[in-house]
Symmetry: C2
Subunit: 174 residues, 2 copies
DNA sequence: TTGCAAAACGGAGACAGTCTCCGTATAGTT
DNA sequence: AACTATACGGAGACTGTCTCCGTTTTGCAA
């Protein structure tokens, strides 16, 4: 679709309606706002989230690497549509957002990860925190055209931070 | 100023020109774009960056806690004006941006931190990476109205991730 | 002081978005 | 076939950034 290649901001509703060969009025009857339309566009691939979780968890690797695999997949999905990462991440706490359903999916996925890897993770992580952390990374990756390995490195830092227990790092004096 | 309280997007140039009691034309002669105006507004407090670095480094604490102190201060500065974090972080790699000068300041500050704490940090960190990581955290904090302690927890994760060496975490099998 | 050139000003309006409103066409029912 | 209800389309209302140009002010020399 248009949004995929050009990004949310660069596509006008006029353009969409022309491409779809309908009037703008018709478009707005189906989707009350531009964001609602975008939400519908994002619907399909959001469903792949849960399978990505399973795939990461069945990996024969350390907890840290399973986590990293998930974070990478998650971030890749968020980055797939330009502008999506920031929008979805911003909507995480807002039940009124058009993206609320997607946020629930994502939070649930991270919850599943936490439960599966729990003993290896620091005790105070929660799904919201992980969602925000990788949402943040994905958002900057999205609008700065960062090379893939730089994104990977950032996610590595986050993964390490999430497995590191606080007790380990605190008493190490400089 | 207006931007500080209402945020970049919520302030129109008409509003600025009215408040300043000048015509929009006059406004645009002084500042060629809205972003350039915003850059000028941000000028003053960007200068506080370097002193924040020094303050963090003179703290009598572990490398991790010095790092965290700096990340906290840095993030707080980015969040001080609504909308600034995302903008500045997005401009990090773009020398043509109006914010390029500020990005240099920030990158330099992170470079200083890296040099000071280097033995305690993972070997592959660079200033750009830190800037992006905390820029990402600050950006989501900025447009999700996150409580301060949640932001602090996320920065803690990042700080731990930055001090954790890769060798430690990789061989730990689940 | 007066005259004049140059610079600064102000705001109307060009342009580009999102979204609404309403006249028209289409489909469904008896 | 007539009538009603529903869907359509696009003009235009509204709001934003930024430009253009006629007017005012300023600075300087005679």
């Amino acid at each position: 679709m248009l949004f995929r290649t050009k990004g949310y901001d660069a596509v006008s509703m006029d353009e969409v309606s022309k491409t779809a060969e309908v009037g703008t009025g018709t478009l707005y009857r189906h989707f009350p706002t531009k964001e609602a339309l975008y939400d519908a566009v994002l619907e399909a691939w959001a469903e792949r989230v849960n399978s990505a979780v399973e795939r990461a968890l069945t990996l024969d690797a350390s907890a840290r690497d399973q986590l990293l695999a998930w974070l990478t997949a998650y971030s890749a999905m968020l980055t797939e549509h330009k502008g999506a990462a920031a929008r979805i991440t911003a909507a995480l706490g807002d039940p009124g957002s058009p993206f609320a359903a997607k946020c629930q999916t994502y939070l649930g996925a991270n919850q599943r990860i936490i439960e599966a890897l729990s003993p290896a993770l620091r005790p105070d992580v929660d799904a919201m925190q992980i969602s925000r952390l990788v949402g943040g990374v994905a958002a900057v990756a999205d609008n700065s055209e960062i090379p893939a390995d730089a994104v990977q490195a950032m996610l590595g830092v986050v993964a390490d931070g999430l497995v590191a227990s606080e007790k380990d790092s605190l008493p190490v004096r400089a």
